[in-house]
């Protein structure tokens, strides 16, 4: 470890370095946080399938990688695998294919596109989202929970004295079976969570803060990713724009509540917001301003109002939207860009938001350490000028040459010192 400093001091130092960058102050040096994904597995020689199924191996993989590379922040494995394999098996989850279940044991999971909510169901969703989720949505996305569609409308329990009779529905063999499965899956989730919690504690004890422990999703993406599918949500912009906006507004407080709740429980102020379907090409700027940005902006400001730090992972190219996304409180958030020109982003957003990213994943895969250093040098010189920058890869790192990650981290620590 680093001579003369306790893990607590290191934790404080790293957290402050990141916090200074977020607040657009000049830190002691540019923070560096390679956004690891399945690199944790590749680097330590375990398969993505093991990462899904063997919690201890997965935790060890994360720990070893963090110790070897010594980043200022590490990516929580909870932001990579939102649920472990055995739980997905038990509930028969339909929205992703995971290693050994539709994709090879050596590949990471992939999302299964679908219209999980039908166009004509917007009203049902808007009127009573919880009822819609439990009785219509979950039965579609979890095979094991299909019987939940037999439940009576949840709001019928309002008449308390009579509501107890509704529990009769729970006694139907199919429903009882589904609830039993749910309970087993819950126990397994708890086992996974306790291992992930211990890992987080252990790494904290060693002086490493995580990037974030909490996640929130832009309301348009909630609808596009999980409910209507890409094609469905795109058509909705033309055919039922008002419903789409109304549903997004309905989703907003739920995402806000979820993001705040977990962030506060974890003690880490940052909330990860991965953006998917609002990038250049995926909609016009006008559509972005109408359908995507209003609720995303409210999500960002809502988290900020709670004293939290939104970390937006801005997938794809956002070059045409930089002026639009400038409109947030200063020094309170992180914009992590994938394909957007970072130099232009610095010009337009540098006085408002901390910029993160910069090293192309293709360079980390195919380049040499010298090329990585050259890239980092330019980023530090230009984007890092005056603070407000966190060195990172453009996208989540699944594959990369370890020597390139090392070059990125070590060079930033050496060359990125301010003063």
């Amino acid at each position: 470890m680093i001579a003369g400093k306790t893990p607590e001091e290191l934790f404080q130092e790293r957290s402050k370095r990141v916090e200074d960058a977020v607040q657009l102050k000049v830190p002691d040096r540019v923070p560096v946080a390679p956004n690891f994904g399945f690199f944790y597995a590749k680097y330590t020689g375990i398969t993505p399938e093991e990462a899904h199924y063997d919690y201890d191996k997965w935790a060890m993989a994360v720990k070893k990688t963090v110790i070897d590379f010594q980043p200022d922040m590490y990516t929580s494995p909870r932001m990579i695998l939102l649920a472990p394999g055995p739980v997905l098996d038990m509930v028969d989850f339909k929205q992703i294919k995971w290693p050994g279940h539709g994709v090879s044991p050596n590949h990471s999971f992939q999302f299964v596109e679908g219209e999980y909510m039908k166009a004509e169901e917007y009203d049902a969703f808007i009127e009573d989202p919880s009822d819609y989720i439990i009785r219509t949505y979950l039965p579609r996305i979890y095979g094991a929970l299909e019987p939940l569609k037999m439940l009576p409308p949840l709001r019928s329990m309002m008449v308390g004295y009579a509501a107890v009779h509704l529990t009769a529905a729970l006694a139907r063999p199919e429903v009882a079976n589904a609830l039993e499965t749910l309970s087993k899956a819950g126990a397994e989730s708890l086992r996974w969570r306790s291992i992930m919690d211990s890992l987080q504690e252990e790494l904290t004890g060693m002086g490493f803060p995580s990037c974030a422990q909490s996640i929130a999703v832009a309301p348009y993406d909630v609808i596009g990713d999980f409910l209507r599918g890409t094609r469905g949500v795109m058509l909705d912009m033309y055919r039922r724009p008002d419903k789409l906006i109304e549903a997004s507004e309905k989703v907003l407080p739920m995402q806000l509540q979820a993001g705040v709740f977990i962030a506060k429980r974890s003690g880490n102020p940052r909330v990860y917001i991965p953006l998917h379907k609002g990038a250049d090409g995926f909609m016009s700027l006008e559509q972005f301003k109408t359908f995507y940005w209003p609720t995303l902006k409210k999500l960002i400001t809502g988290l900020i109002d709670e004293g939290l730090t939104p970390w937006l992972f801005i997938e794809g190219d956002y070059t045409s939207r930089l002026e639009t996304i400038r409109d947030i409180p200063k020094g309170k958030a992180i914009y992590h860009f994938e394909l957007t020109d970072l130099f232009k982003a610095k010009e337009i957003l540098g006085d408002v938001v901390c910029i993160r990213g910069g090293v192309p994943n293709s360079l980390l895969c195919t380049g040499t350490p010298q090329e990585v250093k050259d890239c980092c040098k330019k980023l530090i010189d230009v984007v890092g000028r005056g603070g407000g920058f966190i060195m990172d890869s453009g996208a989540v790192i699944d594959e990369a040459k370890p020597e390139n990650i090392k070059a990125m981290v070590d060079f930033t620590k050496e060359y990125g010192v301010y003063g």
């Binding site: 596109e113 795109m234 058509l235 033309y238 995926f282």
Partner: protein, 210 residues
């Protein structure tokens, strides 16, 4: 009337377009002419996409409008609807990858640019590309993939095509957001592209029609 329909579709006015179609049909117009106008409109949509006036949602929506018009018009067709085609293309997302947005856009753009496209869907095993190519005598194969794992799968697919004896008879293009010339060399493809317009220009070039 023809101009009205072309404009309504090209400007993505769904209800107006459908209304004009119904009116023209009830006025006794040849269904084939309506389809021909619709195709002209789709060409305008394609041009606007190329010029970045239109984006993916506009393509998806225009495809949806076209599908509805076709459904109304088809039963009334009195003669064959074969439009002249520039060539045949077999396309699909390679085994292991289930992303289809990029592939669908390429299919769409090839189609409105005059190609007969056989879309095999997603997660397509190598052998299926071979079978469809033999069956249709297509001269072009398009392999799509978004993830880095698709590189390996593209390479394997091209090897299977080689083993089947088809390699000299076809041109192979690969495409996807992460594809570059390094990947093309690695997989053994003839050319690559990262957007749908590139697929169209390659296909035209290969069919000797620039």
């Amino acid at each position: 009337m023809a101009e009205d329909l072309v404009k309504a579709i090209a400007d993505l006015h769904e209800e107006e377009a459908l209304r004009i179609v119904e009116e023209r049909l009830s006025a006794g117009e040849d269904a084939f002419k309506i389809l021909a106008d619709s195709r002209n409109a789709m060409e305008i949509v394609g041009k606007r996409f190329e010029n970045r006036e239109y984006f993916v949602p506009d393509l998806v929506y225009s495809g949806e409008i076209l599908q509805e018009i076709t459904a109304i018009v088809k039963p009334k067709l009195t003669r064959a609807t074969e439009f002249e085609r520039l060539g045949k293309v077999v396309i699909g997302t390679v085994a292991g990858d289930i992303h289809d947005i990029g592939k669908n856009i390429v299919t769409f753009m090839l189609d409105i640019n005059g190609f007969e496209v056989y879309d095999l869907g997603i997660d397509v095993p190598a052998q299926k590309f071979v079978e469809k190519t033999e069956e249709t005598q297509a001269k072009i194969i398009g392999l799509s993939g978004l993830l880095t794992l698709a590189f390996e799968s593209m390479k394997e697919t091209i090897e299977v095509i080689k083993d089947s004896g088809l390699r000299d008879k076809v041109k192979i293009m690969i495409g996807g957001g992460q594809i570059n010339d390094e990947v093309r060399k690695y997989t053994g493809a003839d050319a690559y592209g990262t957007d749908a317009m590139r697929a169209v220009s390659l296909a035209k070039e290969w069919m000797g029609n620039k």
